[in-house]
Subunit: 348 residues, 2 copies
DNA sequence: CCTCCTTATGCTCGAATTGAGCATTAGTAT
DNA sequence: ATACTAATGCTCAATTCGAGCATAAGGAGG
C-alpha cells in the first residue's frame, strides 16, 4: 500500500523514456509542522487525528500560490487546521527522498508513475499551552510516545534493552567484517556505548540508525512490507509517512537550540516558577538537571525577573513567580540555558 | 489529490470551494550549492562564471527524477558542472519567497503569473583545495567580496562607516516613532552598536537588514528597479537571484558550526601547521584569534596529532606539521574549535 | 658572526565557569 | 509535633578562559 511510491521509483529507473527527459521534475511542496507544547513537564506534539487504523499524522498541507513565503504558507495551514496561532516558527529541514514514503499518497491514492515527487519542508513551532483548542480533529501526543528511547528523565529508558539487543543482532548480521565494525561504531556513537556519553542532541541520528536496522515500523512500510508482529522489535508508536523522522529532527534541533537561544520561554506561561522552567528544559532534553546549578545559570544570565507573586501550590515551600526578561535579547548575543545533565539522574 | 488528509481537515472548516481549488502549486526545485574552500587564509566560494554583464552565480540545477535524494541530486549537479568531488555536504535552508527573485525570471522574463514558483534548496559543501579544477566555467571568489562588512580580521572593516551612515538615514526615514525605534534596535543588535559585541554568526541577519534598508543591490532588482548609481550605497558585489542571501546563510552557519563540530578539517590539506589551521578558522569567522589559546584549545581537545614532519617555510621558526585525528569523532560528542575573538584584533 | 625580524612553542596567573553537594527555610499533610 | 516536599542560599574544588610574558629557532641583512 505505502509501496506505491516505490513502484514509481523503479519505473523511473527502468523506463528509458522517463530517464531521458531529464528536465526538472515537477514537484509539489508539502509544508509539515512539528508543533510543540510542554504541559506539566510533558512535551507534546500536535497531531491531526488520523482516520481509524491510520497512523498519527503531523499537520501539513501543500504550498499554494497565494502563500507569499514558505513560512506564511505554513502558518496559514496550521491556523486553518488547528485554530492555533503560532508564535515561534523555525525551518527544520527539507526532505525529498524518492524511496522513502513522504506521505502524500495514501493507499492507492497515488496516480500513475508520472505523479509529482513530494518534497516536504518541515517546520518547528513552539506554542504556549497544550490545552487550548478543543478541536476534535487534533490531539496533543507526548513526543516520547514516538521516541521512547529518548526519555532519560527517569533514568535509562526501559526500551533501550530491547533496542540494544536488536542492534547487536543487526551488527552481527552485517555482510562483511568492515561493515560489521562500522555498524558497531555507529551504534556506540549514537547510543552511548563504551565510554560515549549519551548525547541528547543526536535524536535524528538515532532514529536513522534504528530505521536502517529496521527497528522502525516505517522502514518496513517504505518497502511495502509488513513489519514483524513482535512488538518489542518496533519501539515507539509509528507515524504516517516520514513524520517520525521529522519529529526526531525537531527533537534534536530543539535540544540544541535551548542551549544558546532563549526559546524555552516560548513554551512557558507568562509567569512560572524556576522549577517549572527546569521541568520544561528537562522535558525537552530528556534528562534530569541539577536544580541549584540550573537556577544559578538562569539567574546569572538574568533571563528572568521576579513578578513579585508567589506560587503556593508547589507541594513544598512557596516559590517566587518569575517572568521572562525580554531585554536579554537586546543585551547579549546567544543567551540560552546551556545545561548539562546531572551525572546521576537520581539526584536533582 | 496530494494530501488527502489535509484537504479533508481543512474542508471541514472552510469553504469547500476554496478547499478544492487549493491544489498544490506546481513548483520546480532548484538545488543551489555554496562550495567553500580556504586557500592562503582566504575563504572562497565557487561561482559559475556568469555571462558578460551578468552577476555572479552559485552552481545550481534543478532536482531531477533520477536523483534519489536532494543531496545526491546536488552532488550530481556539482560534479557535472565543476568536476569537483564534494566531501562534506550539509543542507542549509529552503527558500521560496514569491516576491523575491529566485533567479529563474529576470525582470519581465517570467511567463504569466501561472509559471511554476521556484523553490531553492541551498546546500553548503566544504572542499579541500581551491586550486584544482582548471574549469574555465567556474571561478573561486573570496566570499568577503560579496559581504565585505563581515571581515574583521584586519580590524573594523572600512565599509562599515558608509553602511552605518546609510542605516542611520534609514532609521530616520521610518514612518513612525515606533518603527524608528525598532529599526534602531535591529541595527544595534546586528551591527554591534552600543555595548553589543559583534556576533559573527549573525551574518544572515545583517544581510537581511541591509536588504530591508535597500543597501543591497538585489533589493532593487527584486522590485524591478535599478539600484542607485552611488557605489558606496551598495556595499559588496552583487550576485544573481538570491544567491548572496544564500551565501550569507552559509557564512553564518559555518561560523557557528566550527565551534562544535570539527568541520574545519574538511578545509585543510592532509598535513598543516597550527597557524594554518588558525588562519582557516579566522578566515571563516572573520576575526583574529589569540594564538596561544587557540593552540591550547586544539591540543587539549586532541583534535590533531603530529605527523613528525616539519614545515620550514613559515617565515620564522619551523613548525610541526599536524594532521587531523579522526578518532576524536569517536571519542566525544561535539568536538570543535569554539574560539572567541581576541578583544584587540591587533594582538594575535 | 651578530642583530633583527618572524613565527613556534612553553608557561603562568588571575578571573570566570562548572559540577557537585551541604544546609537552611517554609510551606502542606499526618 | 513530625515527616515530606520544594525553595533557596552557600561552599568548594576542578576546569576552563582570557591575556600576556618568555624563550626557541629559523631566515635576512649587515
Amino acid at each position: 500500500m505505502q509501496s506505491s511510491k516505490v513502484s514509481d521509483a523503479s519505473s523511473v529507473k527502468t523506463d528509458p523514456v522517463e530517464a531521458r527527459h531529464s528536465e526538472a521534475s515537477p514537484v509539489t511542496v508539502d509544508l509539515t509542522a512539528v508543533i510543540v507544547a510542554v504541559t506539566n513537564g510533558e512535551p507534546r506534539v500536535l497531531t491531526v487525528r488520523p482516520s481509524e487504523g491510520e497512523p498519527d499524522t503531523l499537520p501539513s498541507g501543500p504550498l499554494r500560490p497565494d502563500h507569499r513565503t514558505l513560512q506564511t504558507g505554513l502558518r496559514a495551514w496550521v491556523e486553518r487546521q488547528t485554530s492555533l496561532h503560532l508564535g515561534y516558527v523555525e525551518q527544520l529541514y527539507t526532505f525529498a527522498d524518492r524511496d522513502r514514503a513522504t506521505g502524500e499518497c495514501g493507499p492507492g491514492m497515488c496516480g500513475p508513475g508520472e505523479s509529482a515527487r513530494p518534497v516536504s519542508v518541515a517546520y518547528l513551532a513552539l506554542v504556549h499551552e497544550a490545552g487550548a483548542d478543543g478541536d476534535p480533529q487534533t490531539a496533543w501526543r507526548p513526543w516520547y510516545n514516538y521516541l521512547p528511547w529518548e526519555d532519560w528523565r527517569a533514568g535509562r529508558p526501559r526500551a533501550l534493552d530491547a533496542i540494544l539487543e536488536r542492534l547487536e543482532q543487526w551488527i552481527a548480521e552485517a555482510p562483511d567484517p568492515l561493515k560489521r565494525r562500522q555498524r558497531a561504531e555507529r551504534v556506540r556513537l549514537t547510543f552511548a556505548g563504551n565510554h560515549m556519553p549519551w548525547d541528547e542532541e543526536r535524536a535524528l541520528e538515532r532514529y536513522e540508525l534504528l530505521y536502517s536496522a529496521r527497528l522502525i515500523a516505517e522502514a518496513w512500510h517504505d518497502q511495502g512490507l509488513a513489519p514483524p508482529s513482535d512488538v518489542a522489535a518496533q519501539p515507539g508508536r509509528d507515524m504516517a509517512a516520514d513524520h517520525r523522522r521529522i519529529l526526531a529532527t525537531a527533537v534534536g534541533r530543539l535540544r540544541g537550540k535551548i542551549k544558546y537561544r532563549p526559546v524555552l520561554f516560548e513554551l512557558m506561561p507568562p509567569a512560572f516558577t524556576l522549577l517549572q522552567l527546569q521541568r520544561t528544559a528537562e522535558a525537552l532534553s530528556g534528562a534530569r538537571l541539577h536544580k541549584q546549578n540550573f537556577r544559578r545559570l538562569v539567574e546569572r544570565q538574568r533571563l528572568v525577573e521576579e513578578t513579585g507573586e508567589l506560587e503556593t501550590e508547589t507541594g513544598g515551600r512557596p516559590a517566587k513567580l518569575m517572568r521572562f526578561r525580554p531585554e536579554v535579547m537586546l543585551e547579549r548575543p546567544a543567551p540560552g540555558v546551556r545545561v548539562k545533565a546531572t551525572r546521576r539522574a537520581s539526584l536533582v
